[in-house]
Amino acid sequence: MATVAAPRLILARLNRATSLAIVVVCWIALFWLLKGRDTLSLAPSDVTGLHTSLNDLNSSIATNRNSNPLFVYFFNEIQLGVSHLVTFFQSLISQPSYGRPVPFVGWLGVVAVISYLSWMFGNWRVALLALVGLVFIGLQGLWQESMDTLALTLAAVLIALVIGLPLGVWGGVSDRVNRVLTPVLDLMQVMPSYVYLAPLVLLFLIGPAAATIATVIYAMPPVIRLTAHGIRSVPHSAIEAADSLGSTRMQALRKVMLPMAKRTIVLGINQTIMAALAMVTIAALVAAPGLGQTVVQALESQDVGTEFNAGLAIVVLAVVLDRVTTAASVRVEMARRAGATRTQKLRRPALAIGAVVVVAAIYISHTYEQAATFPASLTISGRAHGIDVGSHIANSTSTWTAWVQQHFHSVANAIQNSVTYHGINPLQAFLENSPWWLAAAAIVAIAAIVGSWRAALSAAVCLGLIIGTGLWQDSMETLAATLIATVLVMVLGVVFGVWMGRSMRADRVIRPVLDAAQTMPVFVYLVPFVALFRPSRFTGVIAAVVYASPVAIKIVADGIRSVSPTTVEAATASGSTRWQIITKVQLPMSVRSLALAANQGLIYVLSMVVVAGLVGGGALGFDVVAGFSQISLFGKGLAAGAAIVLLGIMLDRITQAAARRADPSAHSRTSH
């Protein structure tokens, strides 16, 4: 500590902005002198020893997986078990099964069951929504794909809950477990899902098993976190009272903690379901069935219409599942209020009648073709009426995108060129042509200045490990794109955030749009961008910006809104212009929110690096994508995935330290 304290004191005396400027100027000056030296460049076709040994590992596993006991008794068993689970759900609702040409339960049965459950756990409004939503999906012509997706999601959510709920409970009752869980969950959430796809395929091969497990990894953190949080929030007094009456640990858990944490837990389940649905497209890359397959194929053929139609089905599924689980969590609250009133008495027989209807619907859908497979046309008085809503959606989307493409092509081109030539290219050249030691030293210094010494230490370790991956130059290229995207995110965040923070009307209009953008699967808007901008680094940047902006905008808006109205009033009273109020009062006072927005923006942008690699983003993202589809680049892809994670940890640490520093209440603490 003492050794750290001394230079920190010296630095503290210098103005932070000045020292930052000095570091940057030195970096630029040295860059001009030394550029191109020690850049640790690695040609796209080249691999390092590490990559080769990972390749060897890959092929050795492929050859020995049926003789190695670890695989025979562990991984293969898991793979088999998970596959069976998915197949079971599929045979129930999506795939021909039990020697029949159709699944066990047809569309009518599924619609009835889901509506009924929505009513039972939620309310009649969400039941109606579920009914309409599912029928709409059927009309889109995507019934079977959606059911495949639903089956996979169900399996993944089930596994995530079976593992996540006990873990969450454990973390809720034990501080030690919680301390272990937290960093693991942090890592799971910083890691882009694409990154662990390749290792999972290595262990579980392609297919529903790997897809489900990838989905589980991505979707499990929320339910663990929220369960632990819910249990932790149960008032101590209630637990103590239960103990004082002689409850066993299990009784206290079952009768006190779980019921009282129920609402938070259901919220966690909701988040987990949403996260699982967000993985649909990624899952398709390892041969998982469902809507993802449609999306991936449309991405390959750049078919915007089909893409949008399938994306819309995902959104509809997401909205239905979200509203139903949200309503369920509200019912948890409502149920005890409504208590033993007459509604309750009415509810029982109504539920029973509903159950009979559902069983009848299942039987009909099991037995009759029209109720089993979603009809492509309705026969009314002898004439078939096409009810193919899907192709209408697809066609009009295609037409609309083509129109946009045609009319905005030159504008888009101009924007693309200016960002590429004045933003991406110079920054990328600067970062990747600086000698590695110069760039590393400068980054560590910046981390120390804007963040803390601890952050600088993390940065140094991460950078060292990145060098170890052999992908230094690619990492710098990715860093450049990430920084540019984050800057754009922050510009949008500040502009829209300030607007929303200052005007309730703007908030009311913009917020739903942001919510929708966050539910939308990334790939849905990827295709129009590819069509408009061609595959390029800029397209990757834009995709990341679209993905990351909503969260940044929301954080900034909330920060601006939380500035005390009295302060704003005082500033107005002393004659400040609107611009002065924004720049001198509201923005400085919400500086912590800004830092937080930058942090979240960075994490979201980074999680899009691989997706950007699919649309010309290059560098690490492309390495991961290529490593996934070219065996000779497998090791390099794995290393690139690790490099992305390391970049993520580094940027997260630096921005979090910066956010802490920006927190006014933290000043007093650090000045001690």
């Binding site: 209630a238 103590e240 009272a241 103990d243 004082s244 066993t248 019921p259 009282m260």
Partner: protein, 378 residues
């Protein structure tokens, strides 16, 4: 040490001998910290101040060598300011908080030697607790809250609802069985807590500042409720409070705690009449002595000149209630117990107490003399 200093008033009714004690606490310690277990046994530490112990070991002492006994059917009050360790102490009695050292004996059995299962049985059937913040389960109706203890010991649904309904009625919550806790006022919520504690028909009830979260009027109601219940069900009660008036109102005997240590144990009049030290004296300063002290505390030995044909009163009559009789009589009142004359109380003695509600240091000497006097009479 401190307990020795305080008088052991065996004449106060209910002071139990070790054998018929419902509850007996011997050498109880609770130390928080990494090396907690070494503190009570370390001679070099036990003599130190709490602050010094913390500096030396990093441990904080919450309960420190506490000894007391509670008789069957007695209402025993533990009183102290916040941080005095009283809440920790009461939790040690059923090992909700694990004591660091010492013995807790309930009906002759040292529960410190018990395993988890017996301890659970103890909490389920013998000792129940009422909490400051009620500790109700918000997701359960009143009836299910009351029946919780019965439920977890495995009683059948019908039986436990029947019993819960009885107890709910006993605490005056008839008609609220199907309500949820947050639909009730604070006082009513605590009645639920009370009913829950009573439902298992325990031998002993522990109260941890049960009424300090309630507003004054409701608090008074609830205190009366406890008195009524005590009369009706006659349970042994250990009652924690920081409110001296409450302690005096409810307690057969009162234990005053400070920094985890016992300062004085005794009946209310004893604390007021003969505070063990300045701390207790400070505590009782604002208490109107005439409301608490009985004639026993102010009577004097008959002098030869005294006429012995004045009116007769018992020694446990509170002064306030004797004032009228004493002042109205032209002769000193005779304090008689079981036909035996204990002493006399005249206008002088009464007026002194009424005039001197505030104890001044100057009075100290005289009052100190008064104690041996009492003893001498006995």
């Amino acid at each position: 040490m401190t307990t020795e200093m305080a008088p052991t008033p065996t004449w106060v009714d209910g002071a139990p001998s070790a054998t018929d004690a419902e509850l007996s606490v011997r050498g109880l310690w609770k130390v928080f910290g990494a090396k907690a277990s070494s503190v009570p046994t370390d001679e070099t530490l036990t003599g130190l101040h709490a602050k010094d112990i913390r500096e030396k070991t990093g441990c904080s002492v919450a309960v420190r060598d506490v000894n007391f006994e509670v008789a069957r059917g007695e209402v025993f009050v533990v009183m102290g300011l916040s941080g005095s360790g009283k809440s920790t102490l009461v939790r040690c009695l059923t090992r909700l908080i694990e004591p660091t050292a010492g013995a807790v004996t309930i009906r002759g059995e040292n529960i410190m030697e018990w395993g988890e299962r017996s301890l659970r049985e103890l909490r389920r059937r013998k000792v129940s607790m009422v909490f400051q913040h009620f500790g109700l389960l918000p997701h359960r109706q009143v009836i299910d809250n009351v029946a919780y203890g019965l439920e977890i010991r495995g009683m059948r649904k019908g039986d436990r609802y029947k019993r819960a309904a009885e107890v709910t009625a006993l605490v005056g919550l008839e008609g609220y069985e199907k309500s949820y806790p947050d639909q009730l006022s604070g006082g009513m919520q605590q009645r639920v807590g009370l009913a829950r504690a009573l439902a298992g028909d325990p031998e002993m009830l522990l109260f941890d500042e049960p009424f300090s979260a309630l507003d004054p009027l409701i608090r008074r109601d609830m205190q009366n409720e406890v008195i009524r219940l005590h009369r009706e069900v006659g349970k042994t009660m250990v009652f924690i409070t920081h409110d001296l008036a409450e302690a005096l109102k409810l307690g057969d005997r009162i234990l005053i705690m400070r920094d985890g240590q016992v300062v004085q144990v005794g009946a209310g009049p004893e604390l007021v009449g003969a505070p063990a030290d300045d701390y207790v004296r400070d505590f009782v300063r604002d208490i109107p002595r005439s409301h608490v002290l009985t004639l026993r505390w102010v009577m004097r030995e008959p002098r030869p000149v005294d006429p012995l044909d004045g009116p007769e009163l018992g020694p446990e009559v509170v002064i306030r209630e004797a004032v009228r009789a004493v002042l109205a009589a032209d002769k000193p009142v005779r304090v008689v117990e079981n036909g035996r004359l204990l002493g006399l109380v005249g206008r002088e003695e009464i007026l002194e107490v009424i005039a001197d509600t505030d104890l001044e240091p100057a009075d100290e000497a005289r009052r100190d003399e008064a104690v041996p006097e009492v003893r001498a009479i006995r």
